[in-house]
């Protein structure tokens, strides 16, 4: 079965430090991977995607993600965290047999001043 795992419920980081939010996936065929962010009482906003090509993908708000096929991972990263990055982050993978996205359970990022 296809699935996405976000092993950390919460990640805490100090402002200015690098951050990583982890995601691993299980999918048949080539993975199409996504990151979304959700601010309080808002819908999800698309951050970035990996379809093919360079393993390092750059997205909105200075975020990037690294695709690692051997480790079946797609970790979200940012070199220097901002307090305003505090939000709920979702990793998703496209179901290879349909248009559906399969979402992870989400990771809450808390950036302290």
């Amino acid at each position: 079965a296809q699935s996405v795992a976000q092993p950390e419920d919460q990640v805490n980081v100090a402002e200015g430090n690098p951050l990583t939010v982890k995601c691993t996936y299980s999918v048949s065929g080539n993975p199409y991977l996504f990151w979304y962010v959700q601010y309080p009482n808002r819908g999800l906003q698309f951050l970035l995607k990996y379809i093919t090509g360079d393993n390092l993908v750059k997205g909105s708000y200075g975020f990037e993600a690294e695709f690692n096929k051997s480790q079946t991972s797609f970790h979200l990263k940012k070199p220097s965290a901002l307090v305003s990055d505090s939000a709920l982050y979702f990793c998703a993978v496209r179901d290879s047999s349909s248009y559906k996205l399969i979402f992870g359970s989400g990771t809450r990022l808390l950036v302290r001043p």
Partner: protein, 112 residues
């Protein structure tokens, strides 16, 4: 700019009521989706629609139905609301040639 709107941000209904949640997108997208979001469970797909008048069950369709009479509008219907349907409901749309989905702001439904 991409825009998906939902008819209500907050909704309170009584058990047994029929509930309509409306979603409208202005991007001429073919595909539309309804999810519910619950803490610790992420987003779970209720129903989706490939195009007008087409619908397909997602992972948790029980207790829900949908309607898509026009391309821009996708409605979620709770035939007889129950307390276990208290949740955040998110609508999304997608162009058939791309992969990312665009989300509305969500409707927080409370069933008492």
């Amino acid at each position: 700019d991409v825009k998906v709107t939902q008819s209500s941000r907050y909704l309170v209904k009584r058990t047994g009521e029929k509930v309509f949640l409306e979603c409208v997108q202005d991007m001429d997208h073919e595909n539309m989706f309804w999810y519910r979001q619950d803490p610790g469970l992420g987003l779970r797909l209720i129903y989706f629609s490939y195009d007008v008048k087409m619908k397909e069950k997602g992972d948790i369709p029980e207790g829900y139905s949908v309607s898509r009479e026009k391309k821009e509008r996708f409605s979620l219907i709770l035939e007889s609301a129950s307390t276990n349907q208290t949740s955040m409901y998110l609508c999304a749309s997608r162009h058939r040639d791309t992969y990312e989905q665009y989300f509305g702001p969500g409707t927080r439904l409370t069933v008492t």
